[in-house]
């Protein structure tokens, strides 16, 4: 599954992450600060343009490499992991996949140069039920007038634009949702207050408000009524990155726990020599490797053009639960010190990784997606 280039790419990203990302991870969490100074080095590493074609200024890489990048960044800093994952797979990708040439020419080169794009899907009343979108886009001549609110939007304050879904008809049907590109500076576009989150505190999460936001039809993405379908396709890919993020955080938890267990002595010997700790570490490693294989397998399917919707739900579901368990175990292995925001990252990882079971579809929704897909294949045979 992994080729030489993947191993080399991992080494490159790992070295970069340790040098440029890891040193800030603790302080951005404590200060609840979005690290704008990281954007330049991330851009130079090609991490802002992983899904953008070369003709639009990108450096596209295969999905396994993409997963490796998100994994290695998250291994040292979950906040950076989610910022990158959201920009690439939720912000840039819908334009790559569903945008027209003008839209690509206008936005993708900027995205590739490090200007963030956010994904405006979730609303206060439409979480798991994304089809319940309340935001409205009303036709006015050649224009659209958009009203509504989006919440929990990653990079909301820093992104130059958002890919927002809105209802283009009064009917409650999913086929009446359309997506648009909305730019931050436009009249009627405002960013709400920053969310105070349990974890990923170095990522920028806020609400977006559209108040009589008038845009020309050229900012509509794809056909009218295709927004919901586009969004589902986007999320299929996005789930791979949340899986990769959980995987990286889990690996970070294991790195921390293993080192601590080998150093810390109780009853006259390092605690790694106790069977209870060994078993925990063995389970962490086994589950992490399982999650990794699922994520790479799903990445490969995606690149090979094989349907991967169920697989992306499965790898996201599994990796996020593995991540939570690994972080929980790491904190337990560290004992008292693990509960403090002290020298070890275990506590931060534990708070960060919880998001992976929630964002881009809760685990409950993933199970729904998986079961429905199985049911569908049963009916087809």
């Amino acid at each position: 599954m992994l080729q030489k280039k993947h191993h080399e790419y991992r080494e490159k990203i790992r070295a970069f992450a340790l040098e440029k990302i890891e040193p800030l991870a603790k302080s951005i969490d404590e200060e609840q600060r979005f690290p704008t100074e990281q954007i330049k080095p991330l851009t130079e590493m090609g991490l802002m343009s992983m899904v953008i074609p070369e003709e639009y200024g990108g450096k596209p890489i295969d999905t396994i490499s993409y997963s490796i990048a998100v994994e290695e960044l998250s291994r040292v800093c979950g906040s950076t992991g989610i910022t990158i994952a959201a920009h690439n797979s939720l912000g840039a990708l819908p334009i790559v996949k569903f945008g027209n040439n003008d839209q690509k020419m206008k936005y993708l080169p900027r995205a590739a140069k490090g200007e963030l794009i956010s994904f405006g899907l979730t609303e206060p009343e439409a979480g798991s039920d994304a089809g319940g979108t309340k935001s409205m886009a009303i036709r006015d001549g050649d224009d659209w007038i958009i009203n509504g609110s989006k919440c929990f939007i990653t990079s909301a304050s820093h992104a130059m634009a958002t890919i927002a879904t809105a209802r283009t008809s009064d009917k409650p049907e999913e086929k009446d949702i359309t997506s648009f590109i909305l730019e931050k500076g436009w009249e009627g576009y405002s960013v709400g207050k920053k969310e105070n989150k349990i974890g990923l505190r170095g990522s920028d999460t806020a609400s977006l408000h559209f108040d009589d936001l008038r845009i020309s039809d050229e900012y509509r993405i794809g056909k009218i009524g295709e927004g919901f379908k586009q969004m589902l396709i986007t999320l299929d890919g996005g789930r791979i990155s949340i899986g990769a993020m959980a995987l990286g955080l889990a690996q970070g938890a294991l790195d921390c726990a293993l080192k601590y267990a080998a150093d810390h002595k109780q009853f006259g010997k390092p605690i790694i020599f106790s069977q209870a700790i060994q078993n925990k570490i063995a389970d962490m490693e086994t589950e992490i490797e399982g999650a990794r294989l699922m994520i790479y397998d799903c990445s490969e399917r995606k690149d090979a053009g094989i349907p991967f919707s169920r697989h992306s739900a499965m790898c996201k579901l599994y990796a996020s639960e593995v991540g939570r368990r690994a972080a929980h175990s790491a904190m337990g292995i560290l004992g008292d010190i693990g509960y403090y925001t002290g020298p070890y990252p275990a506590e931060r990882i534990w708070r960060d990784v919880k998001l992976c079971e929630i964002g881009e579809g809760t685990s409950e929704i993933q199970r729904l997606v998986i079961a429905r897909d199985l049911l569908r294949s049963l009916k087809q045979t």
Binding site: G132, F152, I198, G199, F267, G268, A276, H328, W350, I358
Partner: protein, 380 residues
């Protein structure tokens, strides 16, 4: 064994609940945010008798049982687990150890001001290089005739900044393991004691946690609690109350998390119906409630055994192990039921999730309790 609580115990629980609703729930979020407990809250609790709840009446306390106190701890922790642990450390560890092992003069001197909250207690056991293994304690107390010379560092000391009475475990014979351990009551205003700045924690932020350093502290001879070399036995005895305390803290957190989940699942609509109408979430909540009930039964059994003066190491360990696991399970699921909102600080489940985590760590990690339970099972 009868797990039915007496009418009196239920009344105490109800009173504690009313106090919590009036004074704790409204400011729990702020206490977490500011990482402190308001002094007047401690004062009020002292006036109402909560800080001397299990201290005998002759020493200025209320003289109630651990079982009665359990209800108080649960209700207080349900509102603010950080405040719950302040209370638990003060009462279940510090007052308790003086009550059990102090001589008459010691009790007379320390218990009355502690019972009213004029003096808060703090329990100094853990050290930078010692957690589960008590024989590895490196703090020393050298016998100098009329006093002991105390040297060493204690970490993760709950109430460290608030306390004026420190219960300190130190080696009077450093060459011995367990048997070299003794316990002292140390007044915090003695020369040579320095208290670190508050530690930042994942949760139970309202509780005050510090490092305390002892450098050539002269502790008067009469402040040795019990006998020299008896510290280990005392620590082990007192662990029972500590475990019962954390059990009920965990139950309180879990119950609150479940209450929030039930409330939210009825209010929040997705796909045209309340979340509570979805079987996957119904079953989650059923599982949460079942584990909470099982926890409560284990914890009350432990408390009642202790009150009856019966051996209860295994039972208190089982209770602490299971209750803390329950709290973590329930709080995690409660966050899950809240979805994105559960990840945000506006919703209380976020705090419960962080608070629950510590219950599996302090007063003995889960591994330490598995050691206690298995040792008891496998003894001849």
């Amino acid at each position: 064994m009868d797990f039915n609580l007496s009418e009196e115990d239920l009344e105490f629980k109800q009173m504690a609940r009313e106090f919590a609703e009036k004074r704790l729930y409204p400011q729990a979020e702020e206490m977490d945010e500011k990482a402190e407990t308001p002094k007047e809250l401690i004062k009020e609790c002292g006036e109402l008798g909560y800080l001397g709840f299990t201290v005998p009446e002759e020493y200025g306390g209320m003289g109630f049982s651990s079982t009665a106190f359990a209800g108080v701890l649960e209700e207080f922790s349900a509102a603010c687990a950080g405040f719950g642990i302040l209370l638990s450390v003060h009462c279940s560890l510090c007052c308790e150890i003086i009550k059990l092992f102090g001589d008459k003069d010691t009790k007379k001197k320390y218990l009355p001001p502690m019972a009213t909250g004029e003096k808060i207690g703090s329990y100094c056991l853990t050290e930078p290089n010692m957690g589960t293994d008590l024989s590895a304690i490196a703090t020393t107390a050298e016998n100098k005739g009329d006093h002991y010379l105390l040297n060493g560092t204690k970490t993760f000391v709950t109430n460290g900044g608030l306390a004026s009475v420190l219960i300190v475990f130190a080696k009077t014979n450093p060459d011995e393991g367990h048997r070299g351990l003794s316990c002292f009551i140390v007044d915090k205003d003695l020369d040579g004691i320095s208290v670190g700045k508050p530690e930042t924690k994942c949760g139970i932020k309202a509780s005050d946690t510090r490092e305390i350093n002892f450098a050539d502290v002269k502790v008067p001879k009469e402040n040795l609690l019990g006998e020299e070399g008896n510290g280990f036995r005392m620590a082990v005895t007192i662990l029972n109350s500590g475990r019962i305390g954390v059990s009920f803290q965990a139950i309180g957190i879990a119950q609150s998390a479940l209450n929030e989940a039930i409330k939210y699942s009825k209010e929040r609509k997705q796909f045209g119906k309340p979340l509570a109408a979805f079987q996957a979430l119904q079953f989650k909540m059923a599982e949460m409630a079942t584990r909470i009930d099982a926890s409560r039964l284990l914890a009350y059994r432990a408390a009642q055994l202790k009150d009856a003066g019966k051996p209860c190491h295994r039972e208190t360990s089982m209770s602490k192990l299971f209750c803390s696991q329950t709290a973590n399970f329930v709080a995690n699921e409660a966050v899950q039921i809240h979805g994105g909102y559960g990840y945000m600080k506006e919703y209380a489940v976020e705090r419960y999730f962080r608070d629950a985590r510590v219950t599996e760590i302090y007063e003995g990690t889960s591994e330490a309790h598995l050691m206690v339970i298995s040792k008891d099972l496998l003894k001849d």
